[in-house]
Amino acid sequence: MLLARLRQGERSAFAELNRRYGSRLLRLAHRLLGYRDEAAQDAVQDVFARLLSRPVAIAASGDLEKWLVTVVVNQCRTHHRRWFARLRLLGRAPAKTQTSAPADVETHEFVRHAVRQLPPRDREVIVLHYLEEMPVEQIGVILKLKRNAVEVRLHRARQRLKEILTA
């Protein structure tokens, strides 16, 4: 029902979409973008802006929430690409492996800092599997990967995260 209203471009349907899934999608983007508030808001607003501009692009059927998660993951990838491109343009190499956080930072912040240091692809699987609690099969559908590939990526991401935290 909501899907059909969204595809017809009904404004009240978009308000409903925001009420139902806004927080969930914002939290996902926040995690995927390394706990950066503004970046997360930008990404989700971009997703909603695109849906407002082209409501016919919204999936005709199926699980709306899953579809929205896929769109947000892709939008976060785009955001990453733009961010890296901007850094390259400014002549600043992104710091990929900062070995340790400042000494006075608490443990939670230190762990979040480590997650931020992960390459975006590794961070995606960590966030989707351990924080969004998605099964490997569903992650495979969202990231267009086979089950084995998702498991390999998860293993590698855990190793990298350990390396960062124990460095």
Binding site: N18, S23, L26, H30, Q41, D46, V111, R158, K162, T166
Partner: protein, 166 residues
Amino acid sequence: MTNMDDGELIQLLMDADARARPPAPGDLMSGAEHRRTRRIHRRLIVVGGCGAILLAAAIWPARTRTTPRGADLQSQITALDIEDRAATATLNDLLTAERRLAVENRLRQLEARSAEFDEEREATAVALLQSAADSPDSAAAFREVAVNFPDTGAGIVAARQLSGQQ
């Protein structure tokens, strides 16, 4: 944090995530509306800019071909060119005339000098002929006049005198 197993790692991860506060979703829709409007404006600016560039590209060559100012300038250049050629031709004519005049003057001078020279030659030949008549070796004196001034009257007279003596 050393020798951490996967369980500890995941627990740390979940604890840290639970403490992270995502931004409030309150103004997501208004932000999205704003972004959509901005995107439309950006597209309009890009399309308008491209249109302006294409229009300018289409108009500019035609303007450079047909502008009256350009045409005036071209006609002025042509006129100046014609004037320049005419002036050059006149100058050449003047120079030619002057040169011709100078050559003619020089020729007249040379002719005058030549006439003077002939008169002097004639006078010299006459003087030598007169003195030859009074000379003891008149034959040698007549021969000298006849040989050196054969084209003068005195030279011819001296030659006849010599042939008469012989």
